[in-house]
C-alpha cells in the first residue's frame, strides 16, 4: 500500500482523495490548513449573501468523509523534505506532525494577488479567496451604518462577485478597472459592453481606465479610501481587491522543486521530482495547448486535473489533455457561458471574425467566433442564454462551420422550458449580416 499525501482540500485535492480512496492500493492523507471539510469556494459569495449556510456549500455530506478511510489532517505544511520523503505539519491547535509519503500531491490553490501598494495591511482591505477572507469581509462590512461606500479594485469574475455581495447589503459599490470596458482583457468589446450595461443597470458604477496608487487611512488602522494614479481620491470604508490570483506556493521556495509562476508539471502532472505531483490552480504546465494557458485557475480545470491524475496513479500512465476551453460565470443576474475560443480585441487576429447578436433590452446576447475564409467555427460567448456543452464540444470536435452552428443552434438549446425562443431573431440577423 502506498502512502499518498495530498496538500489542500479544495476541489482538486478532495476529488483526488475520494477517487484514490476507492482503490485499495493507497492510504490517503488529506491535509488542509483552511477547513475541516471540503467546501465550494465558488459559493462563498452565497454564504455572505445569506443564500446558503457554509455547511450547505460542502459538496459531499460530512458522513462521506467520516466514513471514508481518508485520514484528514487539519494543519499547515511548514517544510518538505524530498530526500526523506517527509512533510512537517503544524497541526491546528495540537503540535507538530511528521508524515512520510510515497506520493505527494500539491493542490494548494491560489491566493489573491496584491500589487506593491502602500497600506495593504489596513483593516477594511481584502481579497476574496480564502475562508478567512470571507470572515474578514463579514466583519469589515458588518453594518450598513459603518460601511456605506465600498470599492472593488479590478474587474474579472471575483470582482463581480464582491460587487454583488456588497450590493446585497445595500452598500454603494464602485468598480475601479484598468481597462476601458469591464473585463475587456478577456471579452470582445461587444460582450464587455453588454456586461458593463448590466452591472450599471444593477446600480454598480464601473470606473474605467483607472489605476490605484495606494490605500488611504485616517487613523492608521482602518482604510478610508484609495488614491488613484491621477492623484484623485475616493472615499470607502471597504476596499475589495480582485486584480487576479496567483499560485499559493510560497512554502515551496526552499524545496528545490522547479517553479515558475506555479509548480512546473509535465503531461502526467508530475513535478521535477518523480514522486511529487501538482494539480489545480498551483500547477503550471510545461507544455500547454496553444489555444489554452499553462496556468488556469478555474474550478473545472482543477477537477479535470484531479480526475486525470487519479487515472494515472490507479491504472498507469495517463496524459492530462486540456481539451476545448469552457467556462461559465454569473454577473449579478446575467449568466455567461463560453465554449471554445472567442478572442478579445487585443488578441484577436485578422482572420478571426465575430458575429454578435443581442436583444434590444440587452438581457440576452451571443457572440460566435469563426475563421473568415474557411468559416470554421471557433467558439461562442453566451449571455443570458443557456447552451448545451456536449453539442458545442461535438461541433468543435467535428470542425463544424459557422453556418452549421447557426443553422442547428436549437439543438444546443438549454434554457428552461417555455423560455422565449431567440433563435429566429438571431438567424435573421446572421443572414442579413452575411449578405
Amino acid at each position: 500500500m502506498q502512502e499518498v499525501c495530498i496538500i489542500g482540500n479544495g476541489v482538486a485535492g478532495s476529488t483526488l482523495a475520494l477517487n484514490l480512496s476507492a482503490s485499495a492500493q493507497f492510504k490517503v492523507h488529506l491535509i488542509s490548513e483552511e477547513a475541516d471539510y471540503f467546501f465550494s469556494r465558488t459559493a462563498l459569495m452565497y454564504v455572505y449573501m445569506g443564500h446558503l449556510t457554509l455547511k450547505q456549500t460542502e459538496p459531499y455530506e460530512r458522513g462521506v468523509w467520516n466514513d471514508s478511510p481518508i485520514n484528514r489532517i487539519r494543519g499547515r505544511v511548514t517544510a518538505l523534505n524530498r530526500t526523506n520523503k517527509q512533510l512537517k505539519i503544524e497541526k491546528y491547535l495540537s503540535g507538530t506532525l511528521l508524515l512520510n509519503y510515497d506520493i505527494l500531491v500539491i493542490a494548494t490553490g491560489s491566493k489573491p494577488r496584491f500589487l506593491d501598494w502602500p497600506n495593504t495591511h489596513l483593516k477594511g482591505v481584502s481579497g476574496l479567496y480564502h475562508l478567512t477572507d470571507l470572515e474578514k469581509i463579514e466583519s469589515y462590512t458588518q453594518s450598513h451604518k459603518h460601511c456605506k461606500n465600498a470599492l472593488v479594485v479590478g474587474g474579472g469574475l471575483i470582482g463581480v462577485e464582491l460587487a454583488e455581495m456588497l450590493h446585497s447589503r445595500k452598500i454603494d459599490v464602485k468598480m475601479l478597472i484598468r481597462e476601458p470596458l469591464f473585463w475587456s482583457s478577456v471579452l470582445p468589446d461587444s460582450d464587455a459592453l453588454l456586461v458593463q450595461k448590466h452591472l450599471e443597470s444593477r446600480g454598480v458604477e464601473v470606473v474605467a481606465n483607472t489605476e490605484v496608487k495606494g490605500f488611504l487611512t485616517h487613523d492608521g488602522k482602518r482604510v478610508s479610501g484609495v488614491e488613484l494614479s491621477d492623484n484623485s481620491q475616493l472615499e470607502a470604508q471597504f476596499v475589495g481587491v480582485s486584480i487576479g490570483v496567483q499560485p499559493h506556493i510560497s512554502f515551496l521556495e526552499e524545496s528545490g522543486l522547479e517553479l515558475n509562476q506555479g509548480i512546473l508539471v509535465n503531461e502526467h502532472l508530475q513535478t521535477s521530482e518523480k514522486s511529487i505531483f501538482a494539480i489545480g490552480d498551483c500547477a503550471e504546465l510545461r507544455q500547454s495547448d496553444p489555444k489554452r494557458r499553462a496556468l488556469e485557475a478555474v474550478w473545472y480545470v482543477a477537477r479535470q486535473m484531479a480526475d486525470a491524475l487519479s487515472k494515472h496513479l490507479i491504472d498507469g500512465p495517463f496524459t492530462y489533455v486540456q481539451g476545448h476551453w469552457f467556462n461559465s460565470a454569473k454577473f449579478f443576474d446575467l449568466e455567461y457561458q463560453t465554449y471554445g475560443q472567442v478572442s478579445n480585441l487585443a488578441k484577436r487576429k485578422n482572420s478571426e471574425q465575430h458575429f454578435h447578436w443581442h436583444n434590444t433590452k440587452m438581457t440576452k446576447g451571443l457572440t460566435l467566433a469563426y475563421e473568415a475564409h474557411s468559416r470554421l467555427f471557433l467558439g461562442v460567448n453566451a449571455f443570458g442564454i443557456r447552451l448545451k456543452q456536449s453539442v458545442f464540444e461535438h461541433w468543435l470536435d467535428q470542425s463544424a462551420s459557422i453556418d452549421t452552428v447557426v443553422e442547428q443552434l436549437e439543438t444546443a438549446h438549454f434554457d428552461t422550458e417555455f423560455s422565449k425562443n431567440y433563435t429566429k431573431e438571431l438567424k435573421h440577423a446572421f443572414v442579413s449580416n452575411n449578405s
Binding site: Q56, R169, E393
Partner: protein, 489 residues
C-alpha cells in the same frame, strides 16, 4: 452574523397581516358589538390580502427580476429562529383546533355563512372555512411567487396552473356541484385516490350511487384517474404534472411554503427515512382501502355484481400484472431494490389473502374495519398532512407531507422512476458544486450529488418544481420530457 434588517414597509405590511388574522379569529366578538360578522370577516380577509400583496410589492418591486434569496439563511423566520418557532406553533395550533376542537371556531365559521350561501346555498362548515382560507393563501402567495420569479416563464405558468386548479376544481366546482345535485358528496375532481383516501368508502360510494348517473360517472372517473390517466401523464411529463401543477397540497407548498423550501433536509439518512415512510403509508392505505371495500361488499351481497372474493382476486391480479411488467421491463432496478420491493409485495399479498380468510362483514383481520380506517384518517389524514405537513413548514420545510407521507406521491414516484420520459438533465461538467440546487430542493434531493458527477437526475420524489434550475448560477440543470424511459439512472 449580521442580523438581517427588513424594511419599514415590509414590517408595516407584516403587522397589517397579523392584525387581519387577529380580526378574523375575533369576528365572534363582533356579534356582541352588533356588527354583522360577515362585515368583520370581509374586512379581515381584505386586510390579509392587502398585507400579502403589499409585502410582495415592498419586497420585489424595487429590485430587478432574478433569484432573490438574500438573507434566507440568516433571517429568523427562514432559518429556524424564534419567529419560525412562533409561526409553527401558531399554525399547528390552528390545525389542532380545526380538526379536534372546531366548536371554538364557531363564531368565525358563521362569518363565512354569506359566502357559503352564495356558492352552495348551504351555511358554512369548518371545512368550508378551511377551504376558503386555503384557496386564498394559494392565490395571494401565488401572486407573491409569480412576482418573485417573474423572469421565468416556467415558474409563472406553473403557478397560474396551481392557482387555477385550487380555485376552480378544489373550491368552486364542488360547491356548485352540491348546489346542482344535493346527493353528491364533496368531490374535488383532481384529488385522486389514495390522496383522497375516502373515495372508496361505503358511505361515499353510496352517495355517488344515489346521485345516479352523474355520481357513477364521477366514481368511474376516480377509478380511471389513478389507473389510466395518471400513468399516461406521468409517463409523458413526470409526476410534476400533478405534484407541482395541479395538486392543492403541492400548490400550498409551492406558494405559501416557498420561503421555507431550503429547510428540507437533504441528507442520505433522511432519504432512507423518506422511502420507508412513504411506501409504508402506501401499503397501509392500499390494504385499508381494499379492506373497506371488501367489507362493504360483504355487507351488501345483493347490491353489486362483484362479489368480495372476485374483488380480492381482481386486486391481486392487478398487483401481479404490475409486478410482471416491472420484472420484464426493469430488471436492473429490481436488482438494486429487490429486498424492499419483496417486503412491500409480500406484505400486500399476505394482507389480501388474510383479508379473504380473516374478515367478516364488520372486521378486517379480526379488527373492526371502521377503526382501521379511522386510525388512518387520524394519523395520516389529519395529523400528518395537516398538523405536521403544513404546521411545520417553518421548521422542516414546505414538502414534509409530500415527501414523507403522501401515498399519491409514492405511486406517482414509482411511475416516474420506472416508466417516465422526465428527467433533469445536467449540462456536462459545468457544475461548480455551490449547493444552491440541493439547498433549495424542497424534496430534499441532493441534486448537486448528481450534477457534479455530470449525471442526469431521475428521482422518484422529484416534483419538477424547477427551482434547482432557477437558482443554479451556471445554467447546469434543465427539466426535460425527452429522456429515454428505458435507461435507468
Amino acid at each position: 452574523m449580521l442580523s438581517y434588517q427588513t424594511t419599514a414597509s415590509q414590517r408595516a405590511f407584516t403587522f397589517l397581516g397579523l392584525l387581519g388574522i387577529l380580526l378574523l379569529f375575533a369576528s365572534g366578538v363582533g356579534q356582541s358589538l352588533a356588527v354583522p360578522s360577515s362585515v368583520l370577516t370581509g374586512s379581515a380577509l381584505s386586510l390579509i390580502a392587502l398585507a400579502i400583496l403589499g409585502y410582495t410589492y415592498a419586497s420585489y418591486a424595487p429590485y430587478n427580476s432574478g433569484v432573490k434569496n438574500n438573507a434566507n439563511a440568516i433571517k429568523s423566520l427562514t432559518q429556524r429562529g424564534v419567529w419560525a418557532y412562533v409561526s409553527a406553533l401558531a399554525l399547528t395550533a390552528f390545525y389542532v383546533v380545526l380538526y379536534f376542537f372546531d366548536a371554538y371556531l364557531e363564531p368565525m365559521i358563521r362569518g363565512f355563512d354569506s359566502i357559503s350561501q352564495s356558492l352552495s346555498g348551504k351555511p358554512a362548515t369548518q371545512w368550508f372555512v378551511y377551504g376558503a382560507l386555503y384557496t386564498l393563501a394559494i392565490l395571494l402567495f401565488g401572486v407573491k411567487f409569480i412576482v418573485k420569479y417573474r423572469h421565468s416563464r416556467y415558474q409563472v405558468i406553473r403557478t397560474l396552473s396551481v392557482m387555477f386548479f385550487q380555485l376552480i376544481f378544489a373550491f368552486l366546482l364542488p360547491e356548485f356541484m352540491a348546489r346542482l345535485n344535493g346527493d353528491l358528496p364533496y368531490y374535488d375532481l383532481k384529488s385522486m385516490w389514495p390522496l383522497n383516501y375516502y373515495l372508496f368508502d361505503g358511505y361515499y360510494i353510496e352517495s355517488f350511487v344515489s346521485a345516479q348517473s352523474l355520481g357513477i360517472g364521477l366514481l368511474l372517473f376516480g377509478v380511471l384517474s389513478i389507473f389510466v390517466i395518471s400513468p399516461i401523464l406521468t409517463y409523458k411529463f413526470g409526476k410534476r404534472w400533478y405534484c407541482s401543477w395541479v395538486c392543492g397540497c403541492g400548490g400550498l407548498a409551492e406558494t405559501a411554503g416557498d420561503a421555507f423550501r431550503h429547510l428540507s433536509d437533504n441528507s442520505i439518512r433522511s432519504w432512507k427515512l423518506e422511502r420507508w415512510m412513504i411506501h409504508s403509508i402506501l401499503v397501509l392505505i392500499t390494504l385499508s382501502t381494499v379492506g373497506v371495500v371488501h367489507s362493504y361488499l360483504l355487507e351488501h351481497p345483493e347490491d353489486y355484481w362483484i362479489s368480495p372474493s372476485v374483488f380480492i382476486l381482481t386486486v391481486v391480479s392487478l398487483l401481479v400484472a404490475v409486478i410482471a411488467l416491472i420484472y420484464f421491463k426493469r430488471r436492473a432496478w429490481i436488482a438494486k431494490e429487490a429486498k424492499t420491493a419483496m417486503i412491500i409485495v409480500g406484505v400486500l399479498l399476505a394482507g389480501f389473502t388474510g383479508m379473504h380468510f380473516l374478515s367478516d362483514t364488520y372486521h378486517v383481520f379480526l379488527i373492526p374495519s371502521h377503526s382501521l380506517r379511522s386510525v388512518y384518517g387520524f394519523f395520516v389524514g389529519s395529523i400528518f398532512s395537516g398538523v405536521i405537513g403544513t404546521g411545520f413548514y417553518p421548521l422542516l420545510g414546505n414538502r414534509v407531507w409530500c415527501r414523507f407521507g403522501c401515498p399519491m406521491a409514492a405511486i406517482l414516484g414509482l411511475q416516474q422512476k420506472l416508466f417516465s420520459k422526465f428527467q433533469i438533465t445536467t449540462n456536462s461538467g459545468q457544475c461548480i458544486s455551490c449547493g444552491n440546487c440541493s439547498a433549495y430542493c424542497e424534496m430534499g434531493i441532493d441534486v448537486r450529488a448528481y450534477a457534479q458527477k455530470a449525471e442526469p437526475i431521475k428521482r422518484a420524489s422529484c416534483v419538477g418544481c424547477g427551482i434547482c434550475a432557477e437558482v443554479c448560477p451556471r445554467g447546469v440543470l434543465r427539466l426535460e420530457n425527452t429522456a429515454n424511459p428505458n435507461i435507468q439512472a
